[in-house]
């Protein structure tokens, strides 16, 4: 009996948690299926309306922005290019750098180690103005390279890979060395296959991180052609129903990634612990 009561309490508390996390999104979603006129007169809605297809297709394909130069579809494309670029570049450079740090005798190793890891202290938000100036000197404003490179300049992934490599038993390298494996082969044939879970987790993390960038694209893109979804949200005008629909669409890609790959993601994080 007491067991029954305590489990009821557990479910009750969890349901309140669910309400807090789910209801706000549901209300925005339900409202996005009504016409703007209806929302303007009746406020936010809890039940679905019948303008779903109308609103969503209008937002996806309509030209918007100050100069009507971009559609939401193009913004999604831009966000995907940016997020994929950031994730790919971070994974490759960090995987390599961590390998260089852990598996080699490097001259000035301590110096290089600090050169890489002190960067964790300086997130992009702290160097936003000078970064913009550097990018304009390099002529990278309004380019994908400009959106991707400064955000990939992060040692967080290197830190994760380094921890992971350190947990791999030394015997692996000893055995490989006995077989006459060189450093490139060892990296490609042994370490990369072993790090698959880690690579996937870091890739997901960096993809969502890149997709969700707001301030940097806001500063780096003066041309509407390069607007991304998350920054477009604030600047996009349109009727209230259009904006609701855009908010809902904007959260779909990262949310789907996290829901379907949550196991992998959590596993990757905790492999280090």
């Amino acid at each position: 009996m007491t067991k029954y009561i305590s489990s009821t309490i557990n479910h009750f508390i969890l349901s309140i948690g669910l309400l807090i996390m789910v209801v706000p999104i549901w209300i925005i979603f339900a409202s996005s299926t009504h016409s703007s006129l209806f929302i303007n007169t009746n406020g936010l809605q809890f039940f679905l309306g019948d303008n779903f297809i109308d609103n969503y297709s209008r937002v996806l394909f309509k030209q918007s922005g100050f100069f009507n130069e971009i559609t939401a579809l193009k913004m999604f494309f831009n966000s995907f290019v940016m997020a994929t670029g950031i994730a790919t570049l971070s994974v490759i450079t960090s995987l390599m750098a961590a390998y260089g740090l852990v598996y080699f005798k490097v001259k000035y190793a301590t110096f290089i180690f600090w050169l890489i890891f002190i960067t964790l202290l300086v997130p992009l938000e702290l160097r936003i103005m000078p970064s913009y100036i550097v990018m304009s000197k390099l002529n990278l404003v309004n380019t994908f390279a400009g959106l991707i490179l400064p955000i990939s300049a992060s040692a967080i992934a290197t830190f994760f890979f380094r921890q992971f490599y350190k947990s791999i038993p030394d015997e692996l390298l000893e055995a490989a060395k006995l077989d006459g494996t060189n450093s490139f082969r060892f990296f490609i044939d042994f370490l990369i296959p072993l790090s698959k879970t880690m690579i996937a987790a870091v890739f997901i993390f960096m993809f969502v991180f890149g997709y969700n960038q707001y301030l940097w694209p806001l500063i780096m893109t003066t041309s509407e052609q390069y607007w991304t979804v998350v920054m477009g949200l604030k600047t996009m005008y349109g009727s209230i129903a259009d904006r609701f629909a855009f908010v809902i669409m904007s959260m779909i890609p990262p949310v789907i990634i996290i829901i379907f790959l949550q196991k992998l993601f959590i596993q990757g994080i905790f492999q280090n612990k």
């Binding site: 479910h11 936010l44 997130p123 490139f184 920054m231």
Partner: protein, 292 residues
């Protein structure tokens, strides 16, 4: 690092080079620029600049609005850490206990983690707008809520908007921490101590200490940096500039006010704060609290 390593004269640099190159161009160059800005004074028209010593730092320390931002950032990080940490822990403990529907709860509680802060801000905007806002109406009926004019109400607005998605992050990590505790420890403690609540505070919670400290750092960093998107889409610092975080203020001063010197000095002050937090993390957390 490793006892067994490759001995090579050049191939390690091949592996290190790509990352070092990106860091040097896109991180060190801007950082050096930041330091240069912080120690120079530019004239109002941007024609010339001269070495200014610590003038920019003296300027921000004598600026009352800097202290307003400082105070708000401290309050904001503290409240967000407290709210999201305790709700996240409460939900994680419950989710760890239930037999049925565990994965459904987990999935539904985890997904707001993926939503961008700026998107959360835009959503919060609707709930707190005078025209459509359910929360605005609710609070307005309770005590005459008005965030355009009342600082306390503006705090409530940005705290709710800022905490919401971070509950998910705390939930994920606490749940993973709880699941990592060995079953035998819990079973042994059940024999010794019958009270559920006492057992939680004396056995389970101390075992979660590493996770807790990790999350405190994560939450503080979140409140410092990631909330930029939330502030920029909700209050924009309103009523006056009481809800500007340090990062937001530096951005406004630098990008909108074009005062590079002051923005640079503010950035360096924040680097020092991050450095202090990191040293604290390494010294205290990595050193002392270890149960595995």
């Amino acid at each position: 690092m490793k006892k067994v390593q490759f001995k090579s004269n050049y191939s390690q640099y091949f592996f290190l080079a790509p990352q070092l190159l990106i860091l040097l161009i896109f991180l060190y160059w801007p950082i050096i620029q930041t330091f240069k800005d912080a120690f120079t004074m530019q004239d109002a028209f941007g024609f010339g600049s001269q070495f200014a010593g610590f003038d920019n730092f003296l300027f921000i320390f004598s600026d009352p609005s800097y202290f307003t931002a400082f105070k708000f950032t401290i309050i904001y990080s503290f409240v967000i850490t407290l709210i999201t940490g305790s709700i996240g822990l409460l939900l994680a403990v419950q989710a760890n206990k239930v037999m049925h529907g565990k994965s459904a709860y987990k999935t539904l509680l985890i997904w707001p983690y993926a939503i961008a802060p700026a998107v959360v801000g835009v959503m919060a905007n609707y709930f707190f707008s005078e025209r459509y806002g359910l929360l605005h109406h609710l609070f307005n009926n309770l005590w005459g809520f008005n965030w355009y004019e009342n600082v306390f109400d503006a705090y409530i607005y940005v705290i709710i908007a800022g905490s919401w998605k971070q509950i998910s992050a705390n939930f994920i990590f606490f749940l993973a921490g709880l699941q990592a505790i060995q079953k035998t420890v819990i079973e042994a403690s059940i024999i010794d101590c019958k009270s559920n609540i006492r057992r939680f505070w004396t056995i389970t919670f101390p075992l979660l200490m590493p996770t807790t400290f990790f999350l405190i750092i994560i939450n503080i960093t979140y409140a410092f940096f990631d909330t930029f998107g939330i502030i920029d889409t909700t209050t924009i610092g309103a009523p006056g500039s009481e809800t500007k975080t340090l990062v937001y203020k530096a951005y406004i001063d630098g990008f909108k006010g074009l005062d590079l010197g002051s923005a640079g000095a503010q950035s360096i002050m924040m680097m020092i704060i991050v450095l202090v937090i990191t040293i604290f993390q390494f010294r205290y957390i990595e050193g002392k609290i270890h149960y595995n």
